[in-house]
Assembly symmetry: C2
Homo-oligomer: 328 residues x 2
C-alpha cells in the first residue's frame, strides 16, 4: 500500500512536493490543502483532491504524512505543532535562531499525539547540516566552511524589489572561487563575508527612475548588501523573464582537519550541490524524509526529530538487504 501524502500549501514548494511524489512509486498524493478557494487551484495530479485547510482534521485517517509547505516566518511556527496533532508531519523550517523553540513546540505536540514530526528538512538546513555533522564527528580537529551559490536568494531579490523605482529584480549569490580553492587546499583561511561571496543583481527599473540612486541604495543596504561586493545590471523586463526566470541554487560544505599523533596529516571533506530548481530539490529531500516519518511512526516512534535523528535506511525505498548488497 502506498504512503498517502498531504500537501499543506501550494506554492513553489508544494508543487515541488507534487513532482517529487511522482518520482517515488511507493507514495501517492492524497490531497492538497490551500487557503485559497479550492476550486480556483489547479493541481497536476488527477487523482488527488484540493481541499480547504480546515478540512484537514477530518481527513486524518486518509493521510499518512502531511508535508508543511508554508513559510518559516509566520506559517510553520503555528502550523507544524497544530497539524502534528493529527498527522505525521515534515517541514522545512529554516529560521535558524528559532529552531530550538520550534523543536520544543513540535516535540510537545507530537509526543502527546503519538506522531512523528521531522523539522528543518531540505538542503540547508538539511543535507548541508548532515554533512557538517558527519564531517565534524570524523575530523574532530578541523574547521567548517559553507559557501552558497551560484543561486537565487529569494530574500535578497525581495529586498531589491522593495526599493523605490524598482519594478522587478533578481539577486544571485556567488561563491568566491579563490576562497573555495584556498579552503580545498586545507589552508584554513579566516574569511570575511566579502571574501566568501559576491552578489550580482539584475534589476528592471521603472521608466524615468534614477538608476544611480537605485544602484547606490542596493550596494549600501545594511545586512543585505553592504558587507559584500555587489554588481548591479539594469535590464529590461523581457530580458529578466527570458534569462532569469529559474530558481537555481547550490553550494559547498567543506571541512578540513588534521589527524595523526602530532596532527601531521590533513584531510578535506567536501559536499556540494548544483541545483536547477531549489524548491524541487528541497522537495525531493522532504519526500524522502516523509517516508522516514511514516516508517518510524509505524515502529512506534513519536516526537520531534531532525535529520540528525533519522537513520539513513529509513529514507530509502530499498530494504536493508538490498541496501547492503547494492549501495554499501
Amino acid at each position: 500500500m502506498s504512503i498517502r501524502i498531504g500537501i499543506m500549501g501550494y506554492g513553489n514548494l508544494g508543487r515541488g512536493i507534487e513532482c517529487a511524489i511522482k518520482h517515488n512509486p511507493d507514495m501517492e498524493l492524497a490531497a492538497v490543502f490551500t487557503r485559497r478557494a479550492p476550486e480556483t487551484v489547479k493541481i497536476l495530479t488527477e487523482t488527488a483532491k484540493v481541499c480547504r485547510v480546515d478540512e484537514a482534521e477530518s481527513m486524518k485517517d486518509e493521510i499518512d504524512v502531511m508535508i508543511m509547505c508554508g513559510g518559516s516566518a509566520t506559517d510553520l511556527p503555528v502550523q507544524t505543532p497544530k497539524f502534528v496533532q493529527w498527522f505525521n508531519v515534515v517541514d522545512s523550517f529554516d529560521t535558524h535562531a528559532r529552531i530550538p523553540e520550534h523543536f520544543e513546540n513540535v516535540d510537545k505536540a507530537a509526543s502527546e499525539s503519538g506522531h512523528v514530526g521531522i523539522i528543518s528538512v531540505g538542503w540547508d538546513p538539511g543535507m548541508f547540516s548532515l554533512n557538517r555533522m558527519y564531517a565534524n564527528a570524523i575530523l574532530t580537529n578541523g574547521k567548517d566552511y559553507t559557501f552558497w551559490g551560484k543561486g537565487v536568494s529569494q530574500g535578497h531579490s525581495d529586498a531589491i524589489r522593495r526599493i523605490d523605482g524598482v519594478k522587478d529584480g533578481k539577486q544571485y549569490t556567488i561563491p568566491v572561487e579563490s576562497a573555495l580553492e584556498s579552503v580545498r587546499r586545507g589552508e584554513n583561511p579566516e574569511l570575511s563575508a566579502r571574501q566568501k561571496h559576491t552578489r550580482e543583481c539584475f534589476v528592471v527599473a521603472e521608466e524615468g527612475a534614477d538608476l544611480a540612486r537605485i544602484e547606490n541604495e542596493i550596494k549600501t543596504m545594511p545586512n543585505y548588501f553592504d558587507e559584500y561586493d555587489t554588481t548591479v545590471h539594469f535590464i529590461s523586463q523581457e530580458e529578466l523573464d527570458r534569462d532569469h526566470s529559474g530558481i537555481p541554487h547550490g553550494g559547498f560544505v567543506i571541512r578540513s582537519g588534521k589527524t595523526g599523533w602530532n596532527d601531521e596529516h590533513s584531510h578535506v571533506i567536501e559536499y556540494s550541490l548544483k541545483l536547477d530548481s531549489n524548491p524541487e530539490f528541497t522537495s525531493s529531500v522532504i519526500v524522502a524524509y516523509a517516508r522516514a516519518a511514516y516508517r518510524m511512526n509505524k515502529e512506534g516512534q513519536k516526537g520531534c526529530k531532525t535529520v540528525f535523528d533519522v537513520a539513513p535506511a529509513y529514507l530509502s525505498v530499498l530494504d536493508g538487504a538490498q541496501l547492503r548488497k547494492h549501495l554499501l
Copy 2:
C-alpha cells in the same frame, strides 16, 4: 566516564585508531591486542596495555567497544563474529561480495550476545556508501558515479611487487579529469573502466632486470591493469622512499538526476574526499561509529548494523540540543 576502546591488531589501521582516540576526549584506549609477542610491540599511548589476543575474553568488563583492525580476506570473517560474543565491535570489512554473508554471521552472534556490531565502516564502504544512499533516496531518477583517487592502491602495489625482477613499487589510481567534468555537468556519460581512471606505477627494479619485460607484465596484467591506461616509471629505492612513502587517497561520489513533472530540471550531488592518510581517515570514521555502537547498546539495541542503520546523532560528542543549535 570515558568510552573504553580495545584495538584488535596493530598495523596501519590499529595505529590510526590509536591516533583517532587521542582526538576524541570522551574516549580512552584500554588495550591493544596483538598476535605478536606483546613485549615486542611498542604503542604510543602510555596508559594502555598491550595484550595477547587470547587475553581479550577475560577483559570483557574493561572494554566498551573492540575495534577490529584485521584484514577482510581471512581475519574479519572469523574475528568479528567471535569477538562480538564479548564486546560491541566495529570493523571495516570491505570485501563487497561477501558483505551479506558477513552481516548474517555478525548479526547472529551479536543478537545472541546482546551486543552491537557495526560492520564495513570507513570511507568506501562507509562514507561513500552513505552518500550514494542519501543521493539515491533524494534523486530517485538519476545515475551514480564513484571515482577513486588520486591515491595509493594497496592491492595494485602488491601486484606490482609480485612481478619477477621488481624490488619495490607503488601504484596510484587517478580519476580522469574530463570524465569527472562530464559527470559534474550532468551529461550522464557511460564510462568504461579506462575512461574513468588511469594507473601510474613507480617501480624499483632489481639490478640487471629486464625493464621492458616488467613494464609489459604490469600493463597487461589481467584484472589489475589490462583494462586501464597505465604509466610505468622506474625509479631508485631512495626516490621511492623519499617521494612515495605516504598513503594518500580519496575520491568522488557523484549522483546526477532529474526532477520536475516532466523531468525538466537537473541536479548534481557531489561528495569528495582528499586524504593525506587513508588509514588515519578510515580510523577517524571508525572511532565515531564506536561511539555510536556504545550508545546504541546502552539504549538496549543489539545485532549487526551498517552505516545505513545508525542515526547520525549517535556519532557526535554533542547532544541533540547542541547539534540543533550549532550544526543544523
